[in-house]
Amino acid sequence: MKKLLIILLLAVVGYFLTVSMSNIKFGANRMGDLSQPKTVGAFYLSKTPGELSVANVITAIVVNYRGFDTLGEVSVLFLAATGLGSILYKKKKKGEHIPTVNKPSSALLQAGSKLIFPAILVLGAYVFIHGHLTPGGGFQGGAIIATGFLLMMMSYKDFTMNHSVITWVESLAGITFASIGLIGLIVDHSFLENFLPIGYINDLISGGIIPLIYVAVGFKVAAELSGVLDTLLSIKEK
């Protein structure tokens, strides 16, 4: 009975969403003329290569035009990590180690992880360092690095994340991000304003502060996600 009611309600919601979406033509260009940008999308597409020298327009948006959002986003992750820590907080005895997995994995997986782990770290670094050139960026790269650590946690019972290091990395990265923003405020009177030379598009060193911020974000995300995964995995009770 309740099921029926809920299905009925969801049918109305679904109908509502469908009708709304049916007014939005799939694949239509709503951005308008790029040379006379009326929408933000068109503006970003037309201005980014010239004014920012950034190949990846999404990165330009994420780190520059809407860099403030990203600062918030970084905060959300930071918050999630902190919140998780506070929700699952348990007073540890000194030197106590709670394993992330109960059972050891096979020697094969252990060997394979050892082999793949460094490669994943390089991949992650590549992704966030080239955030302004290729699809990717700080979040993606950070997430990849975190999955590298996840792989190690899965494979080894006694793999430990050094929480002190995590704290240092995430704090310093966060401080770097906010400080770059504040330097912009001091130098160019606008928070997060790009105060460095923008270079040439598709060079590694281009886009001014954008890659710097994305590297910081990469470190921060990697540290936070790894920390979160570690916290979530080491909550086992004996």
Partner: protein
Amino acid sequence: MVISPVHYIAVPLLAAFLMPLLAKIHRELTRIVPGLVILYLGYVSVVLMNQVMAHGTIVEVIAGWNAPWGINLVYSPFTGFLASMMTAMAFVIWLYSYRFKKVDSQPALKYFILFMMLVTGTIGIVLTGDIFNFFVFLEITAISSYSLTAFYRDRDGAEAAFKYLLIGSFASAFILIAILLLYTQVGTLNMAQIAVRMHDVPTHMKITILILFLVGLGIEAEMFPLNGWAPDAYSQAPSPVGVTFAALVVKAGVYGLIRIIFTLFDVHGAYEYLIVMGAITLVMAELAAIRQKSLKRMLAYSSIGQMGVVMIAFGIGTNEAVFGAIFLMFNHAVIKGLLFMSGSYLVYNTPNKEIQYLSGYGMKMPLISLFFSLGALAIVGLPPFAGFWSKLYILIAAADNQMIGLIALILGVSIVEIVYYFRVVGRLYFGKPSKGSIMQKPTYGGVIAMSLLAIVILVVGFYPDVITPYIHNAADALLDKAQYIHSVLPNADLSQIQNLK
């Protein structure tokens, strides 16, 4: 570096990132730094409010991209007032929670980080001029709220937090869909430009988007029947956090609701909707409040009820009504803050935080009881305390709009409010105190915090003129849509813009 609105966001964030490192230097720093940061924001508020009162709205551009291309912060007399109020309340709450979790430094660090981010999130919601950035700050607020609600493990905090999260995620989802649809229609995320282009959006689309916003922000503004999470969260969170919910978080939710209705949309009926939903919220919350056994739950429902009145007042939408509504927001922040702070001490050691155990506490905890009584007198709108003026303004506005039934409803519900508040006050001064229960001695910070709030209640009560000029400007700023758009987009075509009320 010149003082600018972005300090409200950047400085606390910087401090939050720094705090884990500071904790390694000296653990007391984790407590002191947030206070210093908020104090600095207080200074920023004073500087900027003076500037705004003299020269009008400040628009702060982020990353050097002018609106509508980048994100901007709008520090108008209205948003500035709210931000300043939130900062002030945050400082008082910080004082109140200074000794919080004295023994263990790890939880203290986490608590203060989360608290500072919660404050930042709410202020960000108010200041931002970008709809998606608004959503981001909403989520910062939400996630820190969830975590803080579950902060204590000896309570049902996790249960409350989960409900909050469940409903809060619905809110995020609806708001996100609304932003998505809005973006397809106007091709921008800047609120001022959305307001300009809203005229060209087909009506059915406009209403579709509005509905999604109303439900999503209704949840944040604790509108009935979307507010099931609220009493649980208020009552289970650590008491300073409960205060933060009442004084900051719900204010930000209401702000969002009215910003959408007043500035972004030009849909008739939204105002009446606010009135009706406000009235229902008011009635349901107050009726639930009167039957509560737990003091904190009672205060929580009462808070919801007050938000109902705020919504009604905004719904009336005349300058006087909006003035009353903003005044009530201010009063509610201060008074409910005092009630929560003193009430928490009263029920500190009682089983289940229930009112019935408070007999005779007036003798055992005279100062705290006095604070609570003062709060009770003020919140029900008895003169000569702060709550009276806002009530009077709202009622006058309603009367001027021939809404006599509405006034009768508000006043009728006020009687219910009086009953449950004075029941507690009566009990405090009634009867024999039970022997043996341990009184929680308030911290110095707590006493100072409560005293500050009490002083504000008395000063505003006796001399409302200390605050009314700011509120007048705030009301004008909220109602003047064209001015808002003009200050953000100086070249915008304002010919289609009209204030509905």
